[in-house]
């Protein structure tokens, strides 16, 4: 699963190998040419010729000095080896060697030739200047030249330079490969994570999200994925809820129809039975009939509620000033719950919503009524509006006891009630209508310690902000009762 990284690395290899090979070839060719100019062989030949020449010169000087010594053309310095005092080291070494004669170089750099001859108990030394030719120095230079030649002959410089070049190039190449692998890994890893996230999301993990934090194209792709996943999750929830609501509506419609069909004859029969009852027994019968009719009326109210739940009032969306509607609903609620405090925090920049006025008012009335009842006397209800992307959010929070986990889970299912009055269908109807307008109604964490509901409604594109809120924002009392 590292194909992208591997491809990046392979691209680097392909892209660099060709110029690298060309560079090595050019360098090796230049090296080959330059080594062709090496002068080792010339130095070898020159040193040998010089050595031979100087040896001839030395031999001639030796012969000449010996002849001159024999002919007494050169003065001798005699050393009596039995006498006290120490002769020069060279003389002593000659004397100890037992040889009859010996030649040796002396002077600085060997520019003099000495001829030592044994004469009884003494050594005669004849000396001659070599005309400024430093034979020992020359010998040293010849030795260095021979060492250099030997050193060159002991080396394959062509191989050495080529291997060094290849080694260094390979080293540089490998060193540059390491950060490339690292970079390729950094590039491919988020894409792999994105791919894996998509796979998990496609496999049913609707809560799959990826960490963002990059400002490049990959970061944009991850952000787009997260947004898409959130949208799909919400759409899926809405679809599931609407499907459930549809089933519940069908059930409610059939139940209401059947009950309605039965309740009408029952009511008529009971009234007929009461009418035909003799006057003497009518008191008991009237009381009993009243009880039956009261229960029938209760059942009829439930039937009407079911019918209302099953009905789908038409959605006629139009641009609405949501801040004005919230303010109006709160104002209407105050007389019914005078002991409760109300606070409206309205976003003056919030755009108009594209929704049906009757449905929006019904939703807000339901939420505010519930909040006021939950908060109770002395409690507080908070209504806020704000823009969130292409939607407008209305939140209603109360300071009531809040909702338990089980209640929160089944809050929007019909026939559940937590109030003294009502059928328990209000929140179901409110959410259904919000969904039908392209918005939603969800339970959120309460900011006042109780429950909190969030209504989202689609904003009008380019519809401008709430004119009502602009006019009233400065006059609103945060703790208005």
């Amino acid at each position: 699963m590292h194909s992208l990284r591997n491809r990046l690395v392979a691209a680097f290899l392909v892209a660099t190998l060709l110029p690298l090979g060309a560079t090595i070839w050019i360098t090796a060719s230049l090296l080959e040419r330059s080594l062709g100019y090496a002068t080792t062989a010339e130095l070898d030949g020159l040193s040998r010729t010089l050595e031979a020449t100087m040896r001839q010169f030395y031999d001639r000087e030796r012969r000449s000095l010996k002849q001159d010594a024999a002919a007494a053309r050169v003065a001798a310095t005699s050393f009596d080896m039995a006498a006290a005092g120490s002769p020069p080291e060279a003389v002593r070494a000659f004397w100890d060697s037992g040889e009859t004669e010996r030649f040796a170089l002396s002077g600085p750099g060997g520019d003099r030739l000495d001829y030592m001859a044994r004469a009884g108990g003494r050594v005669d030394v004849y000396s001659r200047d070599l005309g400024g030719i430093h034979m020992q120095e020359l010998a040293t230079q010849l030795r260095q030249a021979r060492e250099l030649v030997g050193s060159m002959e002991g080396r394959d410089l062509r191989r050495g330079f080529t291997l060094t070049l290849l080694l260094l190039v390979a080293l540089v190449w490998i060193v540059s490969l390491a950060p490339l692998v690292f970079i390729a890994h950094r590039i491919s890893r988020p894409i792999q994570e994105l791919t894996a996230g998509l796979a998990r999301f496609a496999g049913g993990d609707w809560d799959q999200r990826l960490p963002t934090g990059r400002n490049d194209e990959v970061g944009s792709a991850i952000t787009a994925f997260n947004d898409m996943a959130e949208q799909l999750r919400r759409q899926r929830e809405r679809l599931v809820y609407l499907t459930q609501v549809s089933s519940w509506e069908t059930l409610a419609r059939k139940t209401a129809h059947e009950l309605k069909n039965s309740l009408t004859p029952i009511r008529l029969t009971v009234e007929e039975m009461l009418a035909r009852q003799p006057q003497s027994d009518r008191a008991f019968m009237q009381q009993a009939a009243q009880i039956v009719i009261s229960e029938i009326e209760t059942l009829e109210r439930r039937v009407r509620a079911f019918s209302e739940f099953a009905s789908e009032p038409p959605v006629n969306p139009e641009p609405l000033d949501i801040n004005a509607i919230v303010t109006e609903r709160v104002s209407l609620l105050k007389p019914a719950h005078p002991e409760t405090a109300y606070r409206c925090t309205l976003d003056a920049q919030a755009p108009r919503v594209h929704a049906s006025a009757d449905l929006v008012k019904g939703i807000l009335t339901n939420l505010l009524e519930n909040a006021a009842e939950a908060a109770g006397p002395g409690g507080m209800v908070d209504a806020t509006t704000r823009q969130h992307g292409h939607e407008v959010v209305v939140e209603v929070h109360d300071s009531g006891p809040g909702l338990g986990e089980e209640a929160a889970r089944t809050l929007f299912e019909p026939t559940i009630t937590f109030k003294k009055h009502g059928m328990g269908l209000g929140l179901s109807i409110a959410r259904k209508n919000a969904l039908r307008m392209g918005g939603d109604l969800v339970l959120v964490a309460g900011t006042l310690g109780g429950a909190g509901f969030r209504v989202t409604l689609p904003a009008v594109r380019g519809g401008g902000s709430s004119a009502f809120a602009k006019a009233t924002a400065d006059q609103s009392d945060p703790a208005d009762r």
Partner: protein
């Protein structure tokens, strides 16, 4: 006590080594020792110095256990103009000699490989012993630049361009039995 060295007939003749007692020292001579020839002679005549590591071992029998041994290193050089060899014995008391012919230089090395007779223990009295002489020839390495780091481009090129070094020339001679008698 006058010492004389007598080789057991038949065995010494087949060997190239002979030994003799010189004072209280045991000296060895190698009649067949051809150290300065071939590559060694070429190197020397090129003006290069050659180091030779000698080891003389006294054995209790042929290929036997060592009784005592002496190691000595010598540096040989060649005088280009006189066409003569010079030898320097390394060690605590270095000695030098020059103006030698090749065979004389070889003999001088062996002479300086002597062992005190006392080191032979009971073999110095009447028991036969064997002598093994080994030497190994090595080129004197050129003096290295002291300031040069071992990790430079030059050392890398040097290392990669070096041809396979010739095996160090090494030879071994063994002879015996010898006996030191009155």
């Amino acid at each position: 006590m006058a010492l004389a060295c007598a080789a057991v007939p038949g065995i010494v003749a087949a060997q190239s080594l002979t030994v003799r007692a010189a004072g209280d020292m045991l000296q060895v001579r190698g009649t067949g020792l051809r150290l300065i020839e071939g590559v060694v002679a070429e190197h020397l005549k090129d003006g290069r110095s050659v180091r030779v590591d000698f080891e003389m071992t006294i054995l209790d029998k042929a290929q036997g256990a060592a009784i005592t041994r002496n190691r000595q290193s010598f540096t040989l050089s060649f005088d280009l103009w006189e066409q003569r060899y010079a030898v320097t014995r390394a060690g605590a008391t270095p000695r030098s000699i020059s103006h030698l012919a090749a065979r004389d230089a070889e003999a001088w090395c062996l002479e300086n490989l002597s062992l005190p007779l006392t080191a032979l223990g009971r073999f110095a009295r009447d028991l036969p012993f064997w002598v093994r002489v080994e030497y190994r020839v090595q080129d004197e390495p050129p003096p290295a630049a002291e300031t040069e780091s071992p990790f430079t481009l030059r050392t890398l090129i040097e290392a990669l361009s070096r041809r396979r070094a010739d095996e160090a020339l090494a030879r071994s001679f063994e002879a015996g039995p010898f006996r030191i008698g009155n």
